[in-house]
């Protein structure tokens, strides 16, 4: 594949907080319209890595980032980068669903509104499209004014996905999006990812091996701040080339 065709490329990405290095030089290429899964035991740096892709780590006091992260060939840690624009392009779904204490409508319309869209008709359309994309429309269409917090856990997470889609991102970062959900709600999120990757590039952190195997095209295995192995998911789960990966996937540690 041509080099120009990668959506995200990191080169020797290092992340440390007060001398403690959480990422020890990660080099990864993410292809567009694929689901890339990041797996590894707790504290291996996969979430930290995910959060450096839209600079959410900027919020960590005393954090130092070295190396480069290119999104569409632009260094997102470069001096003239607009973080706000970056986060619109690279959306994020969090582990714990976090709808605002507002109505379903206002939750989805929040992003477009803070980005300056005021016209009711345009907002209506964005809200409907986003909710449909997140497979939530049919469940909430009767009453968009009900509180986002009144929805079930699975619905809340899909509301968060709709909210992220509403600002028109190209990449979706998902930080264990289904870890707090029951199996049927998890299945819905997984189906959704399968559909969404046609239009978006998805990077997902997961603790669940089966989930990584089901939803991802490519899997990266992290261990103590290092990338141990990255390959097509099919190959990683049947014939990993590193022993550590095999041990982790088969449940011998982690």
């Amino acid at each position: 594949m041509d080099n120009a065709n990668y959506k995200i490329r990191t080169r020797d990405l290092r992340f440390s907080v007060r001398e403690k290095e959480a990422l020890k030089g990660i080099t990864i290429d993410v292809k567009p319209n694929q689901v890339t899964a990041l797996i590894g035991p707790s504290g291996c740096g996969k979430s930290t890595f995910l959060r450096s892709l839209n600079r959410m780590n900027d919020l960590v006091e005393g954090a130092v980032v070295r190396g480069t992260v290119l999104v569409d060939h632009i260094d997102i840690y470069g001096p003239e980068v607009d973080v706000v624009a970056l986060r619109k392009k690279v959306g994020m779904i969090f582990q714990k669903s976090n709808p605002f204490p507002k109505s379903v409508y206002d939750n989805v319309a929040y992003g477009p509104r803070v980005n300056g869209i005021r016209e009711r008709k345009v907002l209506d359309e964005i809200v409907e499209t986003s909710l449909k994309q997140a497979a939530l429309w049919d469940e909430v269409r009767d009453d968009l004014s009900r509180s986002g917090l009144a929805l079930s856990g699975g619905q809340q997470q899909r509301l968060c996905i709709a909210r992220a889609l509403a600002v028109g991102p190209e990449v979706l970062l998902m930080d264990e999006p289904a870890s707090a959900l029951d199996p049927s709600a998890t299945a819905k999120i997984e189906e959704l990812m399968y559909v969404l990757k046609e239009n978006y590039t998805i990077v997902i952190v997961t603790h669940n091996m089966q989930q990584a195997a089901r939803v991802s095209d490519v899997t990266a295995f992290f261990y103590i701040g290092e990338l141990i192995e990255m390959d097509e998911t099919r190959k990683m789960f049947t014939n990993p080339s590193v022993k550590q990966t095999e041990d982790y996937i088969t449940g011998r540690f982690g």
Partner: protein, 300 residues
């Protein structure tokens, strides 16, 4: 063994009776004021001006003055306190020297005796700022702002109550979950937008609590307004910021110490105290109620 049991018993008895003693004091205090003030309290008492050298009539000007004082005070103190709390919790690094300096200043301010605020108000607001304004406006020919008035009193009181507002608002801002801020930032909202649309709307009860506590504190303090604007008696209500004013706490103070006929005003003193207590109690209770609501929210 007996010694230990005896010690246990003694400690229990002493601590319980101390607690009982406090309840008793509150009951006696309120009971005394209610009993003696109730007969003087009437609709006329609340709506009329003092008469007959303040030995008869009501206390409306003092109620009005108190009200005006706390309103002006809140308009100044609550925004400044809120903005400071936002800075402390959202912008300042938790360990930065500047943030520590502010926190130190806030805590010190909270411990300064009220009379010191009064003297500061006199020296700074009345003489320095007010005198300066008079110099600029009329070359010092007309004494208008360079004398005690309700504006300087309110500003002095705002300083006194600032720590209450800051602490209450900051506490409330802290209960807004980090997840909500992150969600907003991840959607491309700026930090300020996030504060404006997510943090502040979710801390509104805290801001209200701070305002109420400040008002209740401000309504009860006399020392800060002693030299900066409170008047013994005024024939008319203040209608300009450069007017002096009457105030409930100050009214009680002068009636019990400066009146020409203290005996004749005892009923009025009790009733005025009753009004002041009712005012501060109800404000405190609403603050407690709001705070309780904030706490239960942060619990889940």
């Amino acid at each position: 063994m007996i010694g230990r049991k005896f010690l246990d018993f003694t400690v229990t008895t002493v601590s319980a009776s101390s607690a009982l003693f406090i309840i008793l004091i509150v009951l006696v205090l309120i009971g005394d004021i209610l009993l003696n003030g109730w007969s003087t309290l009437s609709w006329e008492f609340i709506t009329e001006s003092p008469m007959q050298g303040m030995t008869e009539g009501g206390i409306f000007p003092a109620i009005f003055g108190t009200f005006l004082l706390v309103v002006i005070m809140s308009f100044v103190g609550v925004p400044i306190g809120t903005v400071t709390a936002i800075y402390l919790s959202e912008y300042a690094g938790q360990k930065s020297i500047f943030a520590r300096a502010i926190r130190f200043a806030v805590n010190t301010l909270a411990g300064v005796p009220a009379i010191v605020f009064g003297l500061f108000g006199l020296g700074f607001f009345v003489q320095f700022v007010g005198g300066g304004v008079d110099q600029v406006v009329s070359g010092g020919a007309e004494l208008r702002w360079g004398q005690p008035n309700i504006l300087w009193s309110s500003l002095t009181m705002a300083l006194l109550t600032l720590p209450v507002v800051i602490i209450s608002v900051e506490e409330s801002i802290k209960t807004v979950p980090r997840e909500l801020r992150e969600a907003s930032l991840a959607l491309g909202a700026t930090k300020w937008t996030t504060i404006r649309k997510i943090v502040l709307p979710n801390s509104i009860t805290g801001i209200l609590t701070g305002a109420i506590l400040a008002v209740s504190r401000g309504a009860g303090e006399v020392a800060p307004i002693l030299f900066t604007g409170a008047a013994y008696f005024l024939p008319k209500l203040p209608d300009s910021l450069s007017d002096q004013f009457m105030e409930l706490g100050y009214h009680i103070f002068i009636m019990s110490t400066q009146s020409t006929d203290v005996e004749a005003t005892i009923g009025i003193q009790y009733a005025t105290t009753l009004v002041l207590l009712a005012l501060t109690f109800s404000l405190n209770f609403s603050a407690i109620f709001l705070r309780y609501k904030v706490r239960t929210r942060s619990a889940h």
